[in-house]
């Protein structure tokens, strides 16, 4: 009998969903809008994360060695620095590579090129370009480079200016994260309230039917279940429609973003694919839970007949 009633509650829900199609469409539309606004926020968060990540990725520390330092000595320094847990990567650039880069950079300045020609041989030494795993790791790396033992072989270190930039970027990233968290929280609360009230209004329109069902001997569960199912169906359909809008939307904005950020790696589709279960699974689960709670509360009010 329990199974029969369960089956009937689903059939009644589908029937009511179809026979009140305009109400169902309106409910789905509003839930869909709430979900779209949440996805929009996820997109903004992903873009800001990627943008900050791209800026962070540009930061490195370069050590310019004197041109008479032997390659084996540089390899020794490189291996010592690579041993630091904070170091993500170290790139080695030979004096020849540095010369090419230097010439390319100043190809429009004949004076510099002329001076280079007058100098005997390559005046530039080798360079180590160090990247940290995290922005906060740079101070530790800089401290290690500041070792007096390296004073005789290092021509120049560029990290003095980096300190300030690193601190500012770190502050900016932290502030952006805090702001995004607050806005996300607000969006979720507003969306939840909208969905909650939409479901309540939908059930309000059925209050007479609920009273009639009670009067002909329907139990509370038998009345409640179809409405709960119906709101769950609306949530699922709204979620699927959101999915169908979000992906084409991402396809559309991806090239614009790449162009806007001058080729910086902001892969929104990749981000959504990687986090598909968390983003859409979370939204689906959230909307189902929210709809079950809202419809249960809303019906409860009319069951006292």
């Amino acid at each position: 009998m329990w199974l029969l009633s369960f089956h009937r509650s689903i059939i009644f829900a589908l029937q009511s969903f179809w026979r009140n199609i305009w109400l169902s469409i309106a409910t789905i539309f509003i839930i869909g809008l709430a979900l779209l606004s949440i996805n929009f926020l996820i997109i903004i968060n992903a873009i800001s994360d990627s943008a900050i990540g791209a800026v962070k990725d540009q930061i490195d520390v370069s050590i310019y060695f004197k041109n008479d330092v032997r390659e084996s000595k540089i390899a020794e320094v490189k291996s010592q620095l690579a041993g630091l847990s904070q170091v993500k990567s170290i790139a080695y650039k030979t004096p020849e590579e540095n010369l090419i880069v230097f010439k390319n950079k100043h190809q429009d300045n004949p004076d510099i090129l002329e001076t280079l020609k007058e100098l005997a041989g390559n005046p530039l030494g080798a360079t180590l370009i160090i990247k940290a795993k995290n922005l906060n790791d740079y101070p530790e790396i800089l401290k290690a480079i500041d070792n007096p033992a390296y004073n005789d072989i290092i021509e120049e270190k560029n990290f003095d200016d980096h300190q300030l930039i690193i601190t500012r970027i770190n502050q900016l990233a932290d502030n952006v994260k805090k702001f995004a968290l607050i806005i996300s929280g607000l969006f979720v609360v507003i969306s939840a309230l909208i969905v909650f009230n939409t479901v309540r209004i939908a059930i309000f329109t059925h209050q007479n039917e609920i009273a009639i069902m009670k009067l002909v001997g329907a139990g509370n569960w038998f009345i409640r279940a179809p409405f709960v199912w119906e709101s769950v169906f609306s949530g699922i359909i709204a979620c699927l429609l959101t999915l169908l809008i979000v992906y084409p939307g991402l396809n559309f904005i991806q090239p614009q973003l790449t162009k806007f950020f001058s080729g910086a790696e902001i892969d929104l589709i990749g981000y959504f694919n990687q986090n598909f279960l968390i983003i859409f699974g979370g939204q689906l689960l959230g909307i189902i839970i929210l709809n079950v709670i809202s419809s249960s509360i809303a019906i409860g009010k009319y069951l006292k007949v």
């Binding site: 039917e209 009670k214 009067l215 001997g217 329907a218």
Partner: protein, 226 residues
């Protein structure tokens, strides 16, 4: 069958709907409860289906003391009492068949039983050709017939009809009263709540008169005298 013992119902300090009403209805009786608007007729129906609880007194229906009934038993009680309302109370988004079947579905009746009983009941009320219609596609009389069919679906021992002809013209009213008499002939106790003098006087059955919440007359073969 139905016992009302010293029933008083107050909605608030100043509104007394019923005062010390004592009433006994035998199985198989056809009883009309009459009185002017606001005399407490509908309050009796609402008390009998446990829509409201009395302030004082006891109600016993078929040996079941409904004044002590637990909330979760109310649906079971309502499935044993057929009720017909003035405003029909049909589910607007369900067809005639579905409205009638719904009363069985709520009790977990299997599909086979529903498919066999619903046509029989719709046949009694002469609506077997309109099973797929929605309430808005029916006349007032037909709507009330659907409501009666729904009330009969559980083969109740008692049928309460609260102003069943209140929204109907004379011809449809006569049809409905004839139907109630037919149901009574099958052995169902019928309690007709009405203020329609003509109908009550034509019935020549027991008449209970209420005035200002008090039972003032109880005549075996009565007339509507107010």
């Amino acid at each position: 069958m139905i016992h009302l013992l010293d029933i008083t119902k107050k909605f608030n300090k100043n509104t007394v709907a019923l005062k010390d009403v004592n009433l006994h209805i035998e199985p198989g009786e056809f009883v009309s409860i009459v009185g002017q608007s606001g005399c407490g007729k509908t309050t009796i129906v609402r008390l009998l289906i446990s829509e409201i609880r009395p302030t004082a007194g006891r109600i016993i229906i078929g040996g079941w003391e409904t004044t002590k009934i637990k909330n979760y038993h109310i649906p079971l009680l309502r499935r044993q009492i057929g009720v017909v309302f003035q405003d029909f109370k049909l589910l607007p988004k369900k067809t005639v068949w579905e409205n009638v079947a719904f009363a069985l579905q709520v009790s977990g009746a299997p599909r086979g039983r529903i498919n066999s009983i619903v046509p029989q009941v719709l046949n009694i009320v002469d609506l077997k050709d309109k099973t797929d219609r929605y309430p808005q596609e029916l006349s007032g009389g037909e709507k009330q017939k659907v409501a009666i069919a729904r009330a009969l679906i559980h083969r109740p021992k008692v049928l309460l009809a609260d102003e069943p002809t209140g929204n109907l013209d004379a011809i449809n009213s006569k049809d409905i009263i004839d139907l109630l008499l037919k149901i009574n002939e099958f052995g169902t106790t019928v309690v007709l709540v009405t203020h329609n003098k003509e109908i009550v006087n034509s019935l020549k059955r027991r008449v209970i008169t209420l005035e200002n919440g008090q039972l003032t007359q109880d005549q075996k073969i009565g007339k509507y005298l107010i």
